[in-house]
């Protein structure tokens, strides 16, 4: 029987969006059965239009080309610029885009589950999300996670 990986993806920023998709796709390549439970801000990673962004604000460990005080980081447009720069850097280094990793996960049979409670909380609509996902609650997660070899909260 194949090993199982259960992930919870709770964050929707560009940097935090990577670990679940990288781990899930790799585990699937290693013949794991994989489920990712998307909750709270992680839900946005299931939207048809991915718009994950990154902010240097409140993220003092983020490597910056030049040192930048918080007062500058909060200026309008800074988040968009940081996101653009990070995406360009990823492209230059051959890092896959989130869209690519997400479709690789789906291709490999990774099961993506949207937390129904958070969908209701944020008034998201089913049609906002990509197809091929399921909706469920905490008990749904445990049905799989209870038998998983690896479980991570991200």
């Amino acid at each position: 029987m194949s090993k199982k990986l259960a992930l919870i993806a709770s964050k929707g920023t560009l940097d935090w969006a990577y670990p679940p998709f990288i781990l899930a796709s790799t585990a699937a390549a290693l013949d794991y059965e994989v489920q990712i439970f998307f909750t709270f801000y992680g839900l946005t990673l299931l939207k048809k239009e991915l718009d994950a962004r990154i902010s240097p604000l409140g993220n003092p460990a983020m490597p910056m080309p030049v040192p930048m005080p918080n007062l500058v980081q909060m200026l309008p447009g800074m988040e968009g610029m940081a996101t653009m720069m990070m995406k360009q850097k990823m492209k230059d280094k051959g890092v896959a885009s989130l869209e690519e990793l997400r479709s690789l996960c789906l291709e490999a049979g990774v099961k993506l589950i949207a937390c129904q409670m958070t969908v209701d909380l944020f008034d998201f609509k089913k049609e906002d999300f990509i197809e091929d996902i399921e909706f469920g609650g905490a008990a749904t997660f445990f049905e799989f996670a209870g038998e998983a070899d690896v479980s991570l909260f991200i």
Binding site: S25, T26, A29, L30, G94, A96
Partner: protein, 76 residues
């Protein structure tokens, strides 16, 4: 070394080389040899780990001018 299929994973970073290899292996039969060329230096350890976990045999791995070449034999 002779091989049956080749994957060009140059310029790709983790986890893409492994994912491309997995995909290529799916179309091959047991005993066939897959050649992979990558530039990701992390792929050295990852290819070893991939083979140990999946049972495919890493016949050879070498490095020249920043390019890593792997020959992998699909498990029967």
């Amino acid at each position: 070394m002779e091989f049956d299929k080749e994957v060009d994973a140059r310029g790709l970073n983790c986890p893409l080389p492994i994912l491309r290899v997995k995909k290529a292996l799916a179309d091959m039969t047991g005993g066939q040899v897959l050649k992979t060329v990558a530039t990701d230096s992390g792929s050295v350890k990852d290819f070893q780990a991939f083979c140990r976990q999946t049972g495919h045999e890493l016949l050879e791995s070498s490095e020249a001018n920043g390019e890593y070449t792997y020959f992998m034999k699909k498990k029967a």
